[in-house]
Each structure stands twice: as C-alpha cells, then as structure tokens.
C-alpha cells in the first residue's frame, strides 16, 4: 500500500470518516477511484533532483497515526465540510500537512508541539484526547487560541497561538488548492480559452467601463489567426 492510501486508511479507519463529507460528489466518485486518478499525476515537471527529494520525503514519516487522526479532526473543525464540495478530508489536507511539514522543516516543532498542546489541554479540561472530545469541547479549546493579537508578531506569541494560526493557514490553503476546493472557490482558469475582456454585467456591478478608444486598440479575436503584417510606420495591416 502506498503512503497516500495508508494515510487515508489510518484517518478513515480510526473513525474520522464520520467527519468526511458524504455529499453526492464523493458518492459519485468512490475514494479509491479518486486516489487512482491522483496517482497517475505524480509526474509534474520535476527535474530528476527534485523528484528524488520528493521520494525521499515520501519515505519519511513525520506524524504518527494518532497525530494524523488529530490533524484530520482538527482540520474539519477549522473548515467543516459542506455540500457540494466536501471539506479538508476530500481535499487530502492531512496528507498535504504531512508532506509540507517535512518539506518545510521549520514548521515541524510548531506542528508537533501544537498537537501535543491540544491533547494536553483536552486531557486537562475534559479528561479525553482532543480527537475523542465532543465537537463542543473541541470548539471550547479552539476558541481560546483562534483569535490572536494582530499587533504582536506571531513569532512572539505562545506556541499554541502560533500552532492554530499555522494550522488554519495550512487547512485553508490545502483545501483551496485541491480539486474540490477549487470547485468551491469557482476559479475558472487553467485551461485554453480566448480572453476577450470583462463581461459587461461584471463591469456594471463594479461601476467601471471600458474606454472605447482603448478597446479599439485591443486585439480583435476574430483576427488572431491571421499572420501580422505592418506598414513602415508600425501600423498593423491585418
């Protein structure tokens, strides 16, 4: 079993599956199929050196099973799944955090120490580990560390504050850089198209307009396939 699958299995197998979103999208696409599709894209323009480093990182393990489960639980508290685009688990956020924690070792201690703080806090207050606490209890803990004073540099604030801010960043970025997250955001790009300006209703909504003189100089997309020729003064003839 490869690492991606094993992480998913650990998380889902440990009861965190209750936190996964069960909307029509994921039901249409069984998890296994999603994973197979993802495996086929593991070649993404890396140089041999870069690929070697990724393989090396993949062979290492940063978080143990318990920590990954805690990350899975916490990430869904931070960003609950919602129809129709799921949540952090559908976005492989725990796998992403496992990788990035190795890729950027500076965050390693913040992540590991923060997870331990969450359990310690939960054990102290509720006599149970964070991942097994009720959602209400989990929120009580998060509420104490989720609002930091913006006027003090984050690095000068207690570790649990740093940890939560980092986790929130990683969960949000992990979700919105995933297939489901990009669908949730609504980004329409990254595909061949022909740009022909902002739609009129969008211009109207924001109270701006194109200057006709400016637009007259812009590309008439019906001529884009015609080879350009100019007169001696640089006036385009075609």
């Amino acid at each position: 079993m490869d690492r991606r699958k094993s992480i998913q299995t650990m998380i889902l197998g440990a009861g965190a599956s209750a936190l996964a979103f069960h909307g029509c999208k994921t039901e249409d696409k069984p998890l296994d199929e999603t994973l197979t599709a993802a495996e086929n894209t593991n070649y993404f323009g890396r140089t041999p050196d870069e690929l070697e480093r990724i393989e090396k990182l993949n062979a290492e393990q940063l978080f143990n099973e318990h920590e990954l489960e805690t990350i899975a639980v916490l990430s869904t508290v931070i960003l609950p799944p919602k129809a129709p685009h799921g949540g952090p688990l559908e976005a492989d956020v725990p796998e992403f955090i496992e990788f990035i924690g190795k890729d950027m070792p500076d965050m390693k201690n913040t992540l590991l120490g923060g997870l331990m703080w969450m359990d310690h806090k939960s054990n102290t207050d509720f006599n149970t580990e964070f991942k097994s606490a009720t959602l209400e209890q989990q929120k009580q803990i998060c509420d104490q560390i989720c609002h930091h004073d913006d006027d003090i540099p984050l690095d000068d604030q207690p570790l649990e504050i740093q940890f939560f801010a980092l986790m929130r960043n990683l969960v949000v970025t992990g979700y919105y850089t995933s297939k489901v997250g990009i669908a949730d955001l609504g980004y329409k790009g990254n595909q061949p198209n022909v740009w022909d300006g902002v739609p009129q209703e969008v211009l109207d909504k924001h109270g701006v307009a194109y200057d006709p003189e400016w637009i007259a100089k812009c590309i008439d997309q019906s001529t884009r396939n015609t080879v350009a020729t100019w007169d001696d003064e640089g006036n385009l003839l075609t």
Partner: protein, 550 residues
C-alpha cells in the same frame, strides 16, 4: 539571438550551455496547465524560488555553484541552468529604451553616455519586434518609442481600477508591452491561449523564450547549430598573439575538461557569468583576464531598482467568478515613467507594473485571512463555516504594484573573482560588492508614495508600507534579476571593455552579447535591448568576416 543570426548567415555555431537541454513543449518537463494538487506541496516554492511551477532550473541559489559577497554589501545572483536560460521564466516585459536612456550623462550628469544612440538601435528593435512578436500600442511617447506591435489584450477588472486610480493622480497608464503572441506572426509558433502562465514557459511557443524562438528555428534553418549542454565554460582560450582560439569547458556529466576550437567567441552567459569567464581567462598576454586591460570587467554592475506594494480594494470584494480572467502572463496595463526629475530628489525614473485578479490558487492561498477581516472591521482569526465566505469575499480583491526603475551605474559596485572558492567544477567563483546609494532609496520612497496615492484613489487600503528603516522596500541588488554593466561598451578602451559593436577592445574575435555591455539600464527591462544589440553585433560580425577583418 546571435545563434540565430550567425547560423542564418551560414556560419557553424557551437552553443555551449551550462544546464540541460530544455524544450518547453516536452511533456516530461512541462508545468504549464498543471494544477496545484498535481504536487504534494501544492505549488510551494521550496525547490524553486518563484514556486514549483516556475520554469527556471536554478534561482538565487544553484546547487554546486556558490558565489560570495563582500561583508556589509549585498547581491543576489539569479542563474537559470537550462537551454534558453532565464528567458524560459521571465516576465516578457519587452520595453525599448528611448533616446534619453542612451545619453544618461548628457541628461543629468550622472554616469556615462552610451557610444550609440536610439537611432543606431531602432532598426534592430524594429526587427526584433517583427521576428519575436510583442504586443503593445504606439503612443508617440518620446522615451517609450513606437514599435511594431501586436494588438494588446483588453484590461482585466482590477486593471480598470488601477487605470482609474493612477490617472486621477496624473500617472499615465497604457497597454503593457509584452512578448506574447496575441496574434500569429508566423506558422511555426502558436498563439496565446490565455492561461496566464508564461512563467512556466509556453508549450506552443506563444511567448518568447530563447530556446523555442531562436535556437530551435536556427537549427532548422541551416543545420549549422550544434548544442553542447551541461557544459560549464571555464575560460576563453587564447594563442600566443592573445587572440581567442575557442573555449574550454567542464562537462557536468564527468567533470572533465574539454576544448572547443572557434574562429570567433561570442559570450552570452549573462552579464556576471560572462565577466566571470573573462576574468578567469588569464594568460601571459592577458594577465588580469581576457579583455581586461581597462581593469573594468565586473565594474559598473547594476540591477534595476525595485520596490513593491500591495493594496486591499473593498470595491473588488465578492467577485463574480463566472468567468476566466487568467489572460496573458502578467499585466495587461502598466505605467511608463512620468516624472519630472527637476522637481524630484533623485535622477532617472521607474515604471509601475500591476498585478491582481482571480488567479490560480497555489500554496499560500488563503493565508492570514484574519488580517483582511481587520481591514473590513470583522474580528480577526476564528474558524468554521465563516472561513469559506471570507476566502471567497476577498478572492480577487488584492492589487499589487511593482516599481522597477533605474539605479546608477557606479564603478564601486562590482563583481570580481574570489580565488579562495571554487564551484563543483573547480572554477573560481564570483564575489560581489554592491551597495545602493541614497538616490535609489529616495526613488523607492517615491514608488511607495505613488502606490499609496493610487491605492487611495482606488478606494483601497494600502498594506504594510515599508518605512525608512527598511529602505522603503528597496529590494536588495540582484532581486529584480536585471544584472547589467559588467563589460560596458564605449569608444575609449581605457574606460570601457567593448566597442560599440560589442567587440572586446583588446581582442577582436571575442564579442559579448548579453547585458554586460550596457552603459546604463534605463527604467526599462533589459531583454529587448539585449536582443537588439545582439542582432546588431551579429550583423557586424558577419560584415567583418566578409571583409576578412577578423
């Protein structure tokens, strides 16, 4: 460009490249149209400084190829080790110099005049426009001359906001001038399909990269071009008369030294790399390096000035995401320099680049959401359902500014050989000595003032303005990646390294066709001038060969 011109003229050309072969169309190396989730790090810049999709093998650090910096000074040296080098990832901002840009000393007493003027280079700018393709508009501006442009793309939404905001302060805004094909220029290259990813190097060759647009066509035109890749040039070899006989290089594959014989050596390794090769080419005839009787090789190194800024524009919140606004890579509009230096406390100027819009999310997207909450009067931080709404409401509401300008070329900023350190190939490395002066800092302050004023005109909030303690955000030298000036041209061999045709004063069969020959940088980017001068130098080489002068 020299490869293309010389090969087209029927000469045999050996191209010696320090990195691997690279073709933007190769699916194995291609990053264009990849999604963040194709990578376990979601596009983060751990391996590549501009993010992992950026098409540059190497950035300010290259494995096995160190450089040193004189303590108390700064320089960051970008290298792209691949066929086509940094033209694979550059911004494609393609600006001609204007008449004043070639005559700095005459203009304001600073620096030196070039030995040539705009009229000498204009025919070559025209030819470069037509051969390579650049979109833009003829605006009849004195120092941003007309050219042979393809029509520009229409502005994006945030660019309309920028235009309105800048014009309110009397700052001109015109369509940007970038080398992407909005229209076909021949049947060999594709047309832009608006993915906004020119930094990933275009697989249909719709943007300019030296490999896809010059080397490959040169190979097709006469079959005269032979590529030597993974070959680090150590020195230019010379005979007993001091004339160049070729180059010696270290193969990165076996770390052994090889020699190539040549009638003419043309250096285009980047300003600092070419200086390094010449300084390392010591011989009895050239004891302090080839072509260095002036002792000026490495001197007058200068990068563009740069200061950057960011604004939050409430009127751009809650964007309609129903359409794709990737557009071309980079900006569709920009501001050429507008100031009157008589009223300012610094010489020369800068242009403003603008970015923003609903781009592809990658690593870092959605970070510090709370900081924006504060700007709109919401509690910072938090978590839960609301995060989705916040992320979406701020998507596309950020506009960024890049001021890119002219720093002064001074002898005191230079690179030299550091004999104590070698790279993995045993070649002595460069040591940099570079300090900005007060005039560049004052220029950066003016950039910040402009950005802030434009932001206010856009109804926005200017973010994190850097103060005097941070040199008003002035980027350290080398960060704008426009290294020029190390082998400057001139009429007097005592005060310059090459003549006005890029030919070493000391050795008539060695030419430099990168930005080393620049006397000054202008507030333009250097690529279009490198290409024009390289073409001009190539014509001169062909002519001199015909006359049997070299």
């Amino acid at each position: 460009m020299a490869t293309k011109q010389l090969a087209d003229a029927g000469l045999n050309v050996a191209v010696v490249e320090a990195g691997p072969f690279f073709d933007p169309a190769d699916p194995k190396t291609m990053t264009q149209l990849k999604w963040p989730y194709d990578s376990p790090r979601r596009g983060a810049g751990t391996d590549r400084a501009f993010g992992e999709w950026d098409m540059s093998y190497g950035d300010w650090e290259v494995k096995g190829e160190p450089y040193t910096v004189e303590p108390g000074t700064t320089f960051k040296w970008w290298r792209s080790r691949m066929l086509g080098g940094r033209t694979n990832h550059w911004g494609r901002i393609s600006l001609r110099f204007g008449p004043k840009d070639f005559k700095g000393k005459t203009r304001d007493g600073h620096g030196e005049d070039w030995p040539i003027g705009y009229d000498d280079v204009k025919p070559y700018y025209d030819k470069v426009d037509k051969l390579i393709g650049v979109f833009g508009t003829n605006e009849d501006l004195e120092d941003d001359p007309n050219g042979f442009f393809l029509p520009p793309p229409k502005p994006r939404l945030h660019e309309l906001f920028y235009t309105k905001g800048a014009k309110k302060s009397g700052i001109p805004v015109i369509p940007s001038r970038m080398s992407m094909l909005t229209k076909r220029i021949n049947n060999d290259r594709g047309i832009c399909f608006y993915c906004g990813q020119c930094g990933r190097s275009c697989s249909v060759y719709a943007d300019f990269s030296a490999g896809s647009c010059l080397i490959f066509p040169a190979q097709k035109s006469g079959g005269q071009v032979k590529l030597f890749v993974n070959a680090m040039v150590r020195e230019v070899t010379t005979d007993e008369n001091g004339k160049a006989t070729g180059v010696s290089y270290i193969s990165k594959e076996d770390r052994k030294e090889y020699k190539l014989k040549a009638k003419i050596v043309v250096l285009a390794a980047s300003a600092c790399s070419s200086a390094r090769i010449l300084l390392n080419s010591k011989s009895k005839q050239h004891p302090n390096g080839l072509g260095n009787s002036s002792n000026l090789i490495g001197k007058y190194l200068h990068d563009s000035t740069g200061s950057s800024g960011m604004a939050f524009i409430p009127d751009l919140m809650n964007r309609d995401v129903s359409y794709n606004e990737d557009g071309t890579g980079g900006m569709h509009v920009y501001s050429p320099w507008w100031g009157d230096n008589k009223k300012l406390d610094f010489p020369r100027g800068y242009h403003i680049e603008v970015w923003g819009g609903m781009g592809q999310p990658n690593y870092g997207f959605g970070f510090d959401q709370g900081a924006f909450n504060k700007l709109v009067g919401l509690p910072t931080g938090g978590y839960g359902e609301k995060l989705r709404d916040e992320v979406k409401s701020y998507y596309g509401a950020i506009v960024g500014f890049g001021g890119r300008g002219e720093g002064l070329a001074v002898k005191e900023n230079y690179c030299e050989i550091d004999p104590t350190t070698v790279d993995d190939f045993g070649i002595p490395v460069l040591k940099f000595n570079y300090r900005w002066s007060d005039v560049e800092v004052r220029q950066a302050k003016h950039m910040q003032d402009s950005f802030e004023e434009i932001t206010h005109n856009m109804g926005g909030i200017y973010l994190n303005r850097p103060g005097a303690d941070r040199n008003h955000g002035l980027h350290p030298p080398g960060e704008i990646i426009h290294e020029v000036g190390t082998t400057r041209m001139g009429d007097d061999p005592a005060t310059s390294v090459t003549n006005k045709f890029n030919q070493l004063h000391d050795v008539d069969n060695v030419f430099i066709v990168d930005a080393g020959v620049f006397v000054s940088q202008a507030d333009k980017n250097c690529t279009w001038t490198i290409l024009a001068l390289s073409w001009r130098a190539s014509d001169y080489i062909i002519e001199q060969l015909k006359q049997q002068n070299i």
